[in-house]
């Protein structure tokens, strides 16, 4: 299960979403500017306040860290 915490104006979120789409990864997008409960979850799980945050089966990645994302999703 892949979840992405985003804001509508975040450029790295867009790059990340495009990237995952290109590699046919299914994911859920959570807009934390609209959902305060999920924002709290994101801050608690990631220990920080920046977006994007990616949750890959419970593994939390802060930012568009391509290397880590590739590894966890087995993208070559």
């Amino acid at each position: 299960m892949v979840k992405i915490y985003t804001t509508p104006t975040c450029v790295y979120c867009k790059t990340l979403i495009e990237y995952l789409k290109k590699h046919s990864v299914d994911f859920e997008v959570i807009d934390v500017s609209k959902d305060e409960k999920q924002l709290e979850v994101m801050i608690k799980d990631s220990g920080q306040m920046g977006v994007p945050v990616v949750d890959i089966d419970g593994e939390i990645i802060v930012g568009f860290d391509k290397e880590k994302i590739d590894k966890l999703l087995k993208i070559n």
Binding site: T7, P8, T9, C10, V11, Y12, C13, K14, T15, Y19, V32, S33, E36, L39, I43, G47, Q48, M49, G50, V51, V62, F64, K66, E67, D70
Partner: protein, 307 residues
């Protein structure tokens, strides 16, 4: 495979260079960590780019990206770590471990936000300290924040943040704000910002997240503490040029020095366009124009040197 040209960066300069290179049918590649560069992170609308009376930064970046797709230009999402020159070729190593070989290079990496260099700044990056209000601003809903820098970027940031936060302190270290009157009026009208001049930030403190900021009033020498959850730093930019340091000359601001007509650096085959070079006017349209000119002069160079 040896590329004719590699363009590093995909802001307005890099994208414009790519469009020209596609039309010249060069065998080229763009390497960039993102698409749109600073344009995509701009907090307020753009009104000085021909063709668009008013467009948001992310929307303009999207139009740029669509034009790349239209020309079937692909971007390698990666970060350049090192460039080496051997004979007349350049070898580029990237963060993801790839090496590329090319005859010519256009550096269009723009610039990164300039850090404040105070205690607590690095420690709290992502934990309240941000250089991208557009990315992180909405996360600070109903919070009190500080914007450091009383220039246009600072006021544009404050005007964007006004959509979300409850209160903004704008701190300027000199004795007057230098933002345009128009930007100042917008922020004033939004009614959430308090502007303080002669405010030199001393430190940023907190536990897991930012809790406060201390500044010194340089007139009275008094130290003052502000309770804030966020600190947005907008004190200018640093050219993102460290990876090329052995092959080009820099200005005292770390900008790459180029010829002003061909945009070639001191190393033949390496060109630099946009905000990363010494050009005085850091504008989207200027960067795009330089990208075009750098691409055309790179094309001339490639024709002459191609085996």
């Amino acid at each position: 495979m040896i590329y004719d040209l590699i363009i590093i960066g995909a802001g307005p300069a890099g994208i414009s260079a790519a469009i020209y290179s596609a039309r010249q049918k060069l065998n080229f590649l763009i390497i960039s960590k993102d698409v749109g560069g600073q344009v995509a992170k701009k907090a307020v609308d753009i009104g000085n780019y021909p063709g668009f009376a008013k467009i948001s930064g992310p929307d303009l970046a999207k139009v740029f990206e669509e034009q790349l797709k239209e020309n079937e230009i692909e971007i390698a999402l990666d970060e350049v770590l090192k460039i080496e020159k051997k004979e007349n070729k350049f070898f580029i190593s990237t963060k993801s471990g790839n090496t590329y070989e090319t005859l010519a290079l256009i550096i269009a990496t723009g610039s990164d936000p300039r850090p404040l260099e105070v205690e607590g700044e690095k420690e709290f990056i992502g934990k309240g300290v941000s250089y991208c209000a557009l990315c992180d601003g909405p996360v600070f809903k109903n919070k009190t924040v500080a914007v450091i820098g009383g220039g246009n970027s600072g006021f544009e940031t404050a005007s964007f943040l006004s959509n979300y936060v409850s209160k903004i302190y704008i701190l300027e270290s000199s004795d007057k704000v230098i933002a345009d009157k128009e930007n100042q009026d917008i922020v004033l009208k939004l009614g959430k910002a308090e502007v303080t001049t002669n405010a030199k930030v001393l430190n940023i403190k907190g536990d897991n997240f930012v809790k406060s900021l201390t500044y010194k009033d340089t007139k009275s020498s008094q130290e003052k503490k502000l309770d804030v959850s966020g600190v947005f730093i907008e004190i200018g930019y640093l050219p993102a040029t460290a990876f090329v340091k052995n092959l080009v000359d820099f200005s005292d601001r770390d900008e790459i020095i180029t010829d002003l007509e061909t945009y070639v650096t001191k190393t033949p085959g390496i060109f630099a366009a946009g905000d990363c070079n010494k050009g005085k006017y850091k504008q989207i349209i200027a960067a795009a124009g330089e990208g075009a000119k750098a691409a055309l002069s790179a094309y001339d160079y490639i024709l002459k040197t191609k085996p």
